[in-house]
Each structure stands twice: as C-alpha cells, then as structure tokens.
Symmetry: C2
Subunit: 198 residues, 2 copies
Amino acid sequence: MPARGDHEQHRRDIVRIAGDLIAEGGLAAATHRRIAEASGASTTVVSHYFHDKRDLVMATYRQVGERVAERLQVAADSPHPLRPTLDALLPLDRQRVRDWRVLFAFLGPAATDVDLTAEERVRLRAARARVRSALAVEVAAGCLPAGTDADAVARGLLAVVLGTGMQALFDPSQWSRRRIDAVVGRALADTGLDHCSG
Amino acid sequence: MPARGDHEQHRRDIVRIAGDLIAEGGLAAATHRRIAEASGASTTVVSHYFHDKRDLVMATYRQVGERVAERLQVAADSPHPLRPTLDALLPLDRQRVRDWRVLFAFLGPAATDVDLTAEERVRLRAARARVRSALAVEVAAGCLPAGTDADAVARGLLAVVLGTGMQALFDPSQWSRRRIDAVVGRALADTGLDHCSG
C-alpha cells in the first residue's frame, strides 16, 4: 500500500483526469476505462481509489469547487479585490473554461439531486459573500460610494458574471475576452467603481 | 391510427409529461415506464409516438424552447417591451421555474453534445436579439437615451437575467420575487430606463 501522501496525490491526479474527460464529453465520459487509458493506469488501480462512479464524480465536483475557492482567495488578497473577484469567476482562460464546463455538466443533476442542490447553493452563497466582502473593501478604501448597498450590488454583479459565463460558454465566437471585459466593466462602472480603479 | 391532429396533440401531451418528470427528477426520470404511468397510457403507446429516448428527450427540449419563444413574442408585442422581455426569461412563476429546471437538465449535455451546443447557441442569440429589439423600441419611444449601445446593453441585461435565474433556481429562499425584481430593476435603472417606465 502506498504512503498516505502518495495515495492522496494519486487520487487527486485521477480526479483531475476525470474532470478533463467530463469537460470534454460530459458526465458519461468519466468511465473507469477511459480514466485508466488517460492516466496510463489499470482500471483496477482506478477502482482502488474510488468506491464507485458516484464517489469519483463527486470528487471531481469537489475538486473544481476547491479550484474556484482558491482563485477567489487569491483575488480577496488583492488590495483592490472587486474586479479580480469577478474575474476569478469568469471563463477567461483555458483552465477556467474547463472548470465552467465541468460545473455545467453538474448543473442538471444539481437541480434535481438534493445533496447536489444543497452543495451548489452553498457555493453560490460563498461566491456572493466574496463579492460582498470585496465591495466592502472598496468602500473602505474610498473607491465606492459609502452608501453602497453591498448585498444588492453583489447579487447583481454575481448575476452578470454567471450570465456572461453561460453565454460565453455556448457562444465563444460572440464572446471574446474584450466583449466579456466590456460587459463586466460596464456593470462595475454602474456601481461607481470606475472613479477609483486606476 | 388516429387522425393527424390527434396524433400531434397526443405527442405534445406526452412531451409535456416528460418535461414535468425531467423538471422534477432530471433527464434520467423521463423513462417510458414513468411517462406511461403519469399519462395513464401504456408504454407501447408512448413508444408509438417516439423512436427512442433521444427523440423523446429532444422533443421535450424543443417544447420548452417554444414556450420561451412564445413568452418572448407576447413581451415583444407590448408597447414598452423591455421589462416584459426580461420577465419572460426569469423564473418568476411555477411554469417558468419548471421550464428553467428542464433547461438546466439539458445544460450539461448541451455543453458537450455538438447538436445541442448549436441549438443552445441559437436560443441564446435569439433571446439577446429580443432584448436588443426591445431596447430599440424604448429608444424610439424616447424612454432610453438615443445613444444607447443596444448590443452592449442587451448582453449585460441578458447576463443579469440568466445569472439571477441561476441563483434563484438553487436558492429560492434567498431569491424572493421582490429580490429578483430589485436586481433586474437596478440593472434597468442603470440603462436610464427608469426615467420613462411609469
């Protein structure tokens, strides 16, 4: 039996490969056989790390959630965290497009599976709390009006980010980086942030 | 064999029942057996109307698309079509929540199935064109500034609507009708529409 650290690392590697397959071909694509092929391992090895398909698929969903949470943490550490927080949630590069595709694969099940609905709700609330905190930092720095209703503005900005990402995912030719930036920039300007973003 | 009109009506009824099952339990719930149970028909009758599961499921997806298109048409016929157009796309009542849930069940497959991706892209573009047209009507009526960049504003408003609906679907207790209205109302006010919405 491998050392604990190795076990965790192998499991993470397999989950990452499963995520790549899901991003490409949906939940049905993450079979033990295809994961084994892509990882150069045997299906027995894959089975060793996961009880069943649901265990593997849930681990993929959690791994993407952790990646998003890490990006949001990096953004929160910025002195001007609002724009970086929104950018952390947008499909602006290959890695974030990949994660959006994985998350989309789960949206159907998440809308009807009680556990997944609860998990998705927690994630959306966490993202909204991050946007709210970033707004509070910008208000404290004098970059947003003191009377900003952080909860209401956070709801609107998160909606813009999610709705833009959703359109961009299905229609990349209509949603260049420049166009995404323009929509998000306009929403930020409406909050009054442009007075202090330089 | 029933008359052509009866055939179409029966098919539509079965598709509606399939949609209700998908809204409740996801794509996996739309089995011939469960549709037969819910419709009081036999599985043979259900099979008579659809070649296979994919045929049935695609018909459900198309039916929801038609329902959304009809709502958008009604909104477009309004003398002040902007707000009604956005409302047509929001999960503001039981019927629209049901349709959002059906559409969410398809988002995963739609992100990875080439035909469904193309279909989803067409729908998103059509919705954006409706918002753009509604903006043009409001500009012509003097209810929005003449210099309004209808394409850019339409992208942003559609993003707000999609992102609000997505949050509301997973977290209804945090997204009352009042809160949804407030987020959309704020986005509309940012366009300058509030000067003429009375």
